[in-house]
């Protein structure tokens, strides 16, 4: 087994472990840590695929911002962040999950069966995937999406502010709101 293969299998194993722990873990903190592990493995795989700039971006944005955001919210919620494991709605969940799993595994099997061998992986030129090349192509061909994505981020910021603000701009709900909700709940649909 060559070094490259070993590296790939290691990163793959870590990625799978991280993903599984997100899905299986009881406490969301564990899940967030699993997510972090996944991100790091994916970044490693990007490096193996000659996408250096993207690996860096992945680390900075995903690991550095998104996972951190998740942790903030989990810590804000405190003990209410974790939910009890009971059997409510087990039928829909099992059906959905099982069917999806079957579908996915079936399609993986079909693709593997139909694959005709090795896709040619000839070496690209050294500038491929580097920040120079990436930047050039980003501002030459993908300028419009780039500008639009900045607008998107602006909208997201405004939206997040608006959604998270609440009615009176307080961090915690007033008595009136939750009372109304509880009453409507008791009356039934």
């Amino acid at each position: 087994m060559t070094l490259g293969a070993l590296y790939f299998y290691a990163c793959a194993a870590l990625a799978l472990a991280g993903a599984l722990s997100v899905v299986i873990a009881k406490s969301p903190i564990r899940g967030a840590m699993g997510l972090l592990l996944l991100i790091l493995s994916i970044a490693g795989l990007f490096l193996a695929l000659h996408a250096q700039f993207l690996a860096a971006i992945q680390l900075i944005v995903y690991a550095g911002a998104i996972v951190v955001l998740f942790l903030f919210v989990i810590m804000l919620l405190g003990p209410s962040a974790s939910t009890p494991h009971d059997r409510r709605g087990i039928f829909a969940r099992t059906l959905g999950g099982g069917l999806f799993g079957l579908l996915g595994l079936g399609s993986i099997w079909a693709v593997v069966r139909a694959s005709t061998g090795h896709m040619s992986m000839r070496l690209p030129e050294p500038a491929y995937g580097g920040i120079d090349a990436f930047g050039s192509v980003l501002f030459a061909d993908a300028l419009v999406p780039f500008e639009l994505s900045s607008a998107l981020l602006m909208v997201a910021v405004v939206g997040a502010l608006a959604v998270a603000r609440g009615r009176q701009g307080l961090a915690s709900p007033s008595k009136g709101e939750s009372d109304i909700i509880r009453e409507s709940r008791e009356e039934g649909p």
Binding site: G89, A92, L95, G96, L103, S107, A110, R113
Partner: protein, 833 residues
């Protein structure tokens, strides 16, 4: 004169058509207000002007024909362009214009319609006197004449159909004229419905003609007529399987070994024949004509004797060049005519109502006309139309005069027309008697009357004629040689019966003792006492009902003058076309006059029997004429013997000896009852079934069940609306599963196209990454072992062969699906009809 009315813009036709229409319009809308005298004046003037214009037109036509040396000349007038229709064989659009034309054939018809029509209008002005619907009657009668003229003068089939429908409508209105009596209304309905069935046939024929000949007017159809008998599958009509379809799968047992086709000419001929049997009261659609006697007698005379019922013969004559293209259809026409003649004659022998006898006599005579045109003797058949108009109208009007006289004494409708209650009327109705006798002489074929010449010509031609297809190369049906003599003997038998029953009617009505002295009178005693010496509605004095009262009286001059005119014509009109080669052919003016019209038809298609042996035909002339004479002689001698010498005893004894048979014949062979039990019962049960289906299936199942299903499915689907996002996501996954299955599984669907010349192309449906493997002989081993990219397969199949082709489809995921395609080539069609 031609400068005023040029030959191709003959606007005088507008006067001929317009006057009756004007009369109908004025009488219909303002008749009641104008009063009876004005109505009479309007109607009679309209008819007289129309007749005079028709005479002028006829003279001008004769002029033009003479000038053109006996070519087929037409005086045409285009009123306006009506519409265009597509669907012709060449794909072009067919114009349908309101265009009228007078040629030799329609010129004669036009004269008959307007001339005899005028006489009957004159008669009716006195017959219908005092009837509250006087104005309505003349409005309908004029409208009828207008429609009949449209029918006869039309230059194309759709316009003829307009007239055809119009006369059907007027017939309905006039039969049910006294509609307060439900039986009259029912008779009118029956006439209309029977006509309608025939109209369906006419429409189908029209569509077929438009398709094959690419035209709908007479010139165009003649031009394109040879398309009707071209060989080749495109020109034949598939009778079974319908439209050359193929019955596969479950219905495979219906597929015949060889498809059954008929030539387009046969299909057109049979369809048009259905229309003609409806209008001209032949088997199977004659049942309305006897019932139509419920209408006033002038109506019976005009519509059901002289004009409307001849529309079928007119159509056959008009499209003679189409009918001769199919010898099979000609044979069918002749057989239908002969059998109807015989059937109606047998029924007429036992009827006791004078109008019913004449009605069946009309059906029988129409059968003779059909026989004439069916064997290719178009001129003879048409000449019989001509003479029949005179003598039958005369007979009906005479019967009307008799009924008028009887009705004055016997107020009961049924008894007034019963010949058993008549007798010896010649003493009191001299003019009626003489004209009735003349017309009877004509119909039974007394030598040198008009009926003699026309009927004997038909009998002669039935025996000697032999119709073949005008295109000798076509493998078409050849009528067997024994048809001619068979039809001849049937017709001779019918002629014998005709002369028997007509003499019977004549003798019982006008000779002997009057038997109606006491009929109905004792039953009137009670009403007369109730009236306490009031007047009866004829203004006669109050009489003693226990004794025979005043005798019947002759009718007014308005009724007797038309009788006289018609009687004269029925005696002497025969000399317009005397038969027999002893009087040279140039002395047959009617034949000569109509020759250009029928030349196309008869030239190649109507030959003499025994291999077109003209000498044999001439040789047979005298024996056959003798047979015809014998028919007349035997029939009338028998009638004389039975009714004058033996006073009706032999027939009474015969009726007593075979009461069942007598009742059967009296009941018109129970054909009406048969129709009731079969066709009408089928329609009734269809209606009942529809009612049941509507109630249970449509209301019960479709309406209620679907609402239940909707409610139930609503309840079920609501269970999915839990409000939880993940449940919705799970539903989406189920949907994705279906889509994924659809894309991941290979689909082996195909289309099969017939590219002609016994070639088939099977095209498999494309898909992502599909590879195909064909097995074109169905033996299980594919043609090529590997999956290729060719998605079409060409096959060549001989007729009668079938093969099962296997198709295997493999998609990008390596999954394979197999399909079996069954391809069959039917046998080539065979038919000689």
């Amino acid at each position: 004169m031609f400068s005023l009315f040029p030959v191709n813009d003959y606007a005088l036709i507008a006067v001929i058509l317009g006057m009756p229409l004007l009369g109908a319009f004025v009488n219909g809308i303002w008749g009641k207000r104008l009063g009876d005298a004005a109505v009479k004046l309007m109607a009679l003037t309209a008819m007289a002007v129309s007749f005079l214009a028709a005479l002028v037109a006829f003279v001008m036509l004769a002029d033009a024909v003479g000038a053109e040396k006996n070519e087929h000349v037409k005086l045409t007038w285009m009123a306006w362009e009506w519409m265009h229709t597509s669907g012709g064989y060449g794909g072009s659009s067919i114009p349908i214009d309101v265009k009228f034309s007078i040629d030799a054939l329609s010129g004669v018809m036009m004269l008959i319609i307007t001339g005899v029509g005028f006489l009957i209008h004159l008669y009716a002005s006195s017959y219908m006197e005092g009837d509250p619907g006087y104005a309505r009657f003349f409005a309908y009668l004029n409208l009828f004449v207008f429609s009949m003229l449209v029918l006869v003068l039309a230059d194309n089939l759709p316009l003829l159909f307009v007239g055809w429908e119009g006369v059907g409508l007027c017939s309905y209105l006039l039969i049910g004229f006294w509609y307060e009596n439900a039986a009259n209304a029912a008779a009118g309905k029956k006439a209309f419905i029977a006509n309608r069935i025939g109209d369906f046939g006419l429409l189908c024929g029209m569509f077929l003609l438009a398709h094959y000949t690419d035209s709908l007017d007479w010139n165009g159809i003649a031009h394109g007529a040879r398309n009707l008998i071209l060989p080749g599958e495109a020109f034949r009509v598939y009778v079974w399987p319908l439209g050359n379809g193929q019955y596969t799968g479950l219905l495979h047992f219906l597929q015949p070994a060889h498809p059954l086709t008929v030539s387009a000419a046969t299909a057109v001929g049979l369809a048009l024949l259905l229309g003609c049997t409806g209008k001209s009261a032949q088997i199977p659609l004659y049942v309305w004509l006897p019932d139509a006697m419920a209408g006033p007698t002038p109506v019976s005379a005009l519509i059901h004797a002289a004009t409307m019922v001849t529309a079928g013969i007119y159509l056959i004559c008009r499209l003679s060049f189409v009918f001769v293209l199919s010898p099979f259809v000609m044979m069918v026409i002749a057989i239908v005519g002969a059998s109807t003649a015989l059937l109606a004659a047998t029924i007429a022998v036992v009827q006791n109502d004078i109008k019913k006898v004449l009605a069946y006599s009309t059906v029988s005579q129409l059968g003779f006309m059909f026989l004439g045109v069916g064997v290719g003797a178009f001129t003879a058949g048409f000449f019989h139309v001509f003479t029949h108009a005179f003598f039958k109208a005369c007979l009906f009007l005479g019967a009307g005069s008799v009924i008028h006289a009887m009705h004055a004494r016997i107020h009961d409708d049924v008894d007034a027309q019963d010949i058993r209650k008549m007798g010896g009327l010649r003493k009191w109705l001299p003019w009626t008697h003489i004209t009735f006798a003349a017309a009877t002489a004509a119909i039974i074929g007394l030598p040198f009357t008009s009926g003699f010449f026309s009927k004997d010509e038909i009998l002669y031609r039935a025996f000697v004629d032999h119709t073949v297809s005008p295109v000798t190369a076509a493998h078409s049906f050849v009528p067997p040689g024994w048809i001619g003599p068979l039809l001849f003997w049937i017709a001779v038998l019918a002629a014998t019966l005709t002369s028997f029953y007509m003499c019977r009617v004549y003798i019982l009505t006008f000779w002997g003792d009057f038997k109606g002295w006491t009929v109905g009178r004792p039953s009137l005693l009670a009403t007369q006492e109730a009236e306490h010496g009031g007047h009866d509605d004829h203004g006669h004095h109050h009489d003693d009902l226990t004794t025979p009262g005043y005798p019947p009286h002759e009718s007014a001059w308005q009724m007797t003058v038309p009788l006289m005119v018609l009687g004269l014509f029925s005696l002497f009109a025969g000399f317009l076309n005397p038969g027999f080669h002893l009087l040279k052919p140039e002395n047959k003016p009617m034949d000569h006059w109509l020759e250009p019209v029928f030349k196309e038809a008869s030239e190649h298609a109507v030959l003499f029997g025994h291999g077109n042996d003209e000498a044999w035909a001439e040789h047979m002339e005298w024996p056959l004429a003798a047979c015809g004479f014998l028919a007349f002689a035997i029939g009338s001698a028998l009638a004389y013997y039975v009714y004058v010498r033996k006073n009706g005893e032999p027939t009474k004894r015969l009726a007593e000896a075979a009461p069942g048979l007598y009742q059967l014949v009296l009941d018109k062979w129970r054909v009406d009852e048969l129709y009731d039990a079969t066709v009408l019962a089928a329609v009734d049960s269809l209606a009942d079934t529809s009612a049941v289906v509507d109630r249970t299936i449509v209301d019960g199942i479709l309406a209620r069940l679907t609402s239940m299903i909707v409610a139930a499915s609503g309840t079920v689907l609501r269970a999915l609306q839990t409000g939880v996002v993940q449940v919705y996501a799970a539903t989406m996954v189920v949907g994705i599963a279906f889509i994924a299955w659809f894309f991941a599984a290979p689909h082996a669907s195909y289309t099969l196209t017939d590219s002609g010349n016994d070639d088939y192309v099977v095209t498999a449906a494309p898909g992502v990454g599909y590879g195909y493997r064909w097995d074109s002989d169905g033996d299980g081993t594919p043609d090529k072992p590997s999956f290729g990219a060719d998605s079409t397969l060409k096959l060549h199949l001989a007729p009668g062969k079938d093969v099962t082709v296997n198709l295997e489809v493999k998609n990008a995921f390596g999954l394979v699906k197999k399909a079996a395609i069954h391809v069959a080539r039917p046998n080539a069609p065979v038919s000689q009809l």
